[in-house]
Every structure is written in C-alpha cells, then in structure tokens.
Symmetry: C2
Subunit: 367 residues, 2 copies
C-alpha cells in the first residue's frame, strides 16, 4: 500500500484509471462509449475499466482502436434498472455492472467511479461497498448549478442522497462542499450559504438556526466564508459559491431550476419561429443563441458527485448523451488528480474537531 505522499506523486505523473458503468443509462451503451472516446481524445493520461455487456461494448470499441487500447472490459450479466428500488438492487444486484463499477474503486484498481444509472441504487451500493467516510453520517450528492460567478457554476448539496439532514449533517455538507469547490473548481476560500426561506437569522426551521452557528464556528479552520442564509433566488447568483440544504429541498430546487430553464428555452424557440421577421432575427443572432444554449445546457454541467464516502463516485444524468458522459469523466479525472477523497476525509476531521472546540469553549471557560 502506497502512503499518501507516494500517491500524490503517482497521481500527477502516472495514468489515472476511471471505472465506468456502461449500462443503466437511458441513452444506452453507445452514449457511454461515445463519452469515453471524447474524453480519451482530449486527455492522454486517462485509462478506463468499463463494466457491462461485453458483446455490445466490444462491438462499439471495434471502430475506436485508440480508446480500445486504453480500456479494460469487465463483463457483467445484470443491469440495475432505472425503476429498481435501492433495497432490491442491493439484494439482487451484486452481479450487476453498477456494483462492479463501484467495487473496482473499493479494490483500488480505479480512483473514481462513474455511472449514468439509477441514483438511489448507486448511492445504496456505494454506501455498502465503500462505506461512509469517518465522521460522516449522511453522505450527500453535490451538483454544479449554472451561475453568474466567473467559473459559470455554483455548487449545491445535498440534492437527494437523503431526504433528511440535521444540523450536524448540514455542517458536514458545508465542509465537504468547500473541499469539493477547492479540488473541483480551484476556489481557495469558497463562500457557503444555507438555503432558507429568508435571509434573516430567525427564519426557517430550528435545525437551520443550529447549523448556522456550527458552520460559522468552523469557517476559519475549514477555509470557507460563511455568508449565512440564502434564498432560492440566490442559487444562480454570484454572492455565494456553495449552497447547503437537505436532500429533499435540494432535489426539488434542482428539478425546479431545470424545469424552469427548459420552459424558458421552449418559449424562446417559439418566439423565434413566430413570424418571418423573428425567423430572420434568429438567423442573425444564431451564433449568440448557440452560446446561450450551451450556457444553460444541463448536459454540460453533468455529474453529481457523491461526497462523504471512502472513494469518489460520480452520478451522471440518466439521459446523458456522449457530451454529458464526457463532462462527468472530465470531472472524475480532475478529482482523482487532486486526491480528492483523501483530502475530503482530512477536512471533515479537522472541521469536526474545530466544531467541538468551539462548542466546549462556549459551554465553559477553558484554561
């Protein structure tokens, strides 16, 4: 076993291996292999272990000799379906491509796992195979949200790993989110906001009041700036980098944002095909409109990251095409290069220690 020092040196020079689930996405195996091919073309330091139906995979790799040379196929028989309950997938799915994808990270053969499959099943299997990181009770799913910030994105978590979160969970989401922002987006001291129904301190549920105190207490040691409560309208804004919430609220917000963006895009298309004049206008503005549609395209921001496990797992959109899968792989590579899983665990430990110190300092005058 290499120690952390060794691993750091290794990761910056050697090839990085990504474990990929070829099955279970709405767009089929071709989209996954297509995404791998895109990534392989752009990045010479990436290798793959791909899991699934080897007949299909071999057929698709035949015309991609460059990708095939950097890909190991591990055949699996079962597929976790999109509508499988997580509990059923766990009971029956140990021979599935999804389990094998995670298992490969657990064994140390790959640094990061990527799957387009059923989110609930992927989280359940990840919890069982990789186990929760020390100090974490509820792992979380973090996503990138198109925003007015220079990077173009904000981070939000949890968006659906668990439907509940208490104050301690929200504290850890803040620490984990900040670590992700540093390693995935290069932000040194990310601004963290707590999603609430108003910016005033007295607003919202009791666990949010408590979480606000806890996060404020660890801000320095966790290298984050706590800006207090934020509202739904702040999620795409440039006054915050990371939005912290429970998985129920986060999931509703995420899907509401996607639905709204889709609705506006539909209205926009209709506006531009409404009259001959507007159709001429669309022709003139085509380049600008294409850039806009890229900016709000959910496929570009593809890749929810599971935080709080012993290993990194990336959930790609179920309906991701090759572009979406490639975006998820790019993120996987970046996190692997930065030894993200190890750094996150260290951050949670130091944050919790600081939080306990702050609490005991408050309770009693310490010597």
């Amino acid at each position: 076993m290499a120690d952390t020092q060794d691993r750091n040196t290794q990761s910056s020079t050697a090839q990085t291996v990504i474990s990929i689930d070829a099955m279970g996405g709405d767009s089929g195996v071709a989209a996954v292999i297509g995404g791998m091919a895109k990534s392989a073309r752009k990045n010479p330091n990436i290798r793959f272990i791909v899991h699934g139906d080897d007949v299909q995979i071999k057929k698709l790799l035949k015309r991609k000799p460059d990708l095939a040379a950097r890909t190991e196929i591990r055949a699996t028989e079962q597929v976790v379906a999109m509508d499988d309950k997580p509990s059923a997938a766990l009971r029956r799915g140990k021979k599935s491509s999804m389990w094998a994808t995670i298992d490969t990270v657990g064994q140390g053969d790959a640094r990061v796992a990527v799957s387009c499959g059923n989110t609930g099943a992927l989280m359940a299997m990840s919890m069982v195979r990789l186990r929760k990181a020390p100090g974490v009770d509820r792992p979380a799913i973090a996503i990138l949200w198109p925003s007015a910030n220079p990077s173009g994105y904000n981070i939000m978590l949890d968006v659906g790993a668990d439907i509940k979160a208490n104050a301690q969970d929200l504290l850890k989401y803040a620490i984990m989110g900040a670590s992700y922002a540093r390693n995935g987006m290069g932000l040194k001291r990310p601004r963290v906001g707590l999603l609430n129904v108003g910016t005033e301190e007295f607003k919202g549920r009791p666990e949010l009041h408590e979480a606000a105190k806890l996060i404020a207490a660890v801000a320095d040691v966790s290298d984050l700036e706590f800006i207090g409560n934020v509202e739904g309208s702040d999620i795409p804004s440039d006054r915050v980098d990371i939005i912290i919430t429970d998985g129920f609220t986060g999931n509703v917000a995420l899907k509401t944002g996607e639905g709204t963006a889709r609705h506006v895009s539909k209205l926009l298309k209709r506006a531009f095909s409404h009259s001959p004049l507007s159709r001429i206008g669309a022709l003139f503005a085509m380049t600008s409109l294409r850039r806009l549609s890229k900016q709000i395209d959910p496929r570009r921001v593809n890749g929810g990251v599971f935080l709080g496990l012993n290993g990194t797992v990336i959930k790609s959109h179920g309906s991701a095409d090759a572009t979406g899968v490639a975006a998820a792989i790019k993120l996987a590579f970046q996190l692997a290069q930065n030894d993200f899983a190890e750094k996150l665990t260290a951050r949670v430990a130091s944050g919790l220690a600081a939080s306990k110190d702050a609490l005991s300092n408050k309770d009693e005058a310490s010597e």
Copy 2:
C-alpha cells in the same frame, strides 16, 4: 346581514369593493395608486377603499378624478416595514395601513384585501383579524406559476405561510387549491400533484405518503383529479394544474424558479448584445422577444392568495409596480365576483367529511 343567496345576486350586479394597502411596498404609494388607476380604467364595476398616508394619496389622486370618484381614503398613521418581524407588527401595528386594510374586509365593507407589504406580517394580521376558516389549521399562500398549460399558469401552494405541513394540512391545501383553480382560473376538475423527490409512490417523507392516500380519497367529492407525486421539473408543465407542498419547500421552489428565469433572461440579453450581427438579430426579433419577456415576467403573475381564512387576502409582490398591482387587483375582483371565500369554506367542509368517511370505511365494515 345578507344571506348567501342575496350576496350572490348582489355580487354579480353591484359594484365590488376592494380594500387596498397603499403603504409598505418597495415601489411606494405611487405604484399602488398607478395600479388602481389601470384597473379602474379597464373595469367599471370596481371601487376602492385605500388605506395609508392621506396627504400622499390625495396628491396622487388629484390628477385622476375618475379614480378619485370611486375611491374612499381611510387615513392611517403607521406603516409595517418590510423587515418587521410578524410578532412585532402584530403587537404594535394595529394603527397601520396593513391592519386597516384587512379590518375593512373583516367588517364587511370590502370583499377582498390587497397589500404589497411584508408577507409574514400580512399573514399574521390576517390570521388574527379574519381567523382561520372552519376546518383549516394552517392557511396557505397560493401563487400562479408560468406553465405550458392553455391558461399559461399553474397554481402552487403553500409557498411560505408556514414552514411546516402535515398530511392533513396537505389534504386541505389540495381542496383549497382546487377551489381556487375553479374560481380564479375556471378549471372544472383541476389536476392535483404532490411535490416530491420522485414520482414513485414509495418516494419522500412519511407525511407525503399519508397525504397521497387522503387526497385520493376526496378526489371525487372535491371535483379534482389526483395525479400522485410530481417533481420540481413538473411545476411549469402541462401534466398538472395544482402543485401541493409545504411552505418551506414551496418558498424555495418559487424563488429558485424566479432566480433561474432571471438568470436565463440576463444571459439572453448578453447574447443579443454580444456582436453587431446579434444586435441586428435582436432588432428583427424584437416583437417576439417582447412577447417572451411578458410571458416570463413575474409582475404579470403577481398576486399570491391567502387561502383558508374567513375572507380573501391577496399579497402582491413587494417590488410590484403599477402593472403588478393591477394584476393583483384583477385577481381580487374575479375572486370577489365568484364569492370565493364562501365557496372555499364549503369545499373544505365537504372534503373533510369525505375524508373521514373514507377512513372509517377502511377501518371497519360500515353498515
């Protein structure tokens, strides 16, 4: 006191009086009087009782003799500020324009109250002065959401009257929302969906599972169609008319939708000013773009309605201009014409009776 029959006859022939709070909005008294003037021009059957600083109001009404002739001014001294806590507003605000606006409905001098002020204070005062309607434990705020439906809007509630809602509350939101859809939008048998993190029955919190059973049991007697769980992405869709949720989730979803629409609009403007060609395109497409911006303009859908009180109160956006205030007044007039408050109370009673019958039929074989 007129009985219901009398009142029905009256409302369709006589003038409808709306009680309006001139103070407390971000855009000042001028926006409120401007909105009243717009409404008065379009609607000969509307009269106003307006509450606030009579010097300012008289000055603004001077150049609007037609509106002045249909407006009674009731001077008040205090104003509830946007950042007043609801409890403080209640304790100290009995001489405020907001209290007087609601009181006028409580006394029967006007059918509906409209205010642009502090939502929390308005709800707290409405609860104290008008009291909860029989059978309602938690009143709710319902808003209109731009959607792909023929009317252009869906209804969502609660968006922030209370941060909690149990299964019984959610049931009543469904009944009240359906009554609002019938009287405010003319939908005979509106489709009701329960906001959740997935469409499968087993998803989400326990109170949602219970609420789903309760709503399904009253669907027939409440003249609604229950379509089960919906997700955030369904809020602007045409597969549902009414979205039911607790006030915390609803408030976050509402503000997330507004924030996303605003972000996309900003990107759109930038896209059209990016190059000389795109600026020419914008010129050609101007009419279509204006129509689009109307469709996604929050001022047009202005007007959250407080449901579950003995009387109808409409909360207009704090930042509403004259167009926004006029939209809220239009809705107020329509609901007053339909004797909405009385119909809603009757609907809650019949729905609760049906719900109890269904439960007792399930528990024991009834004779």
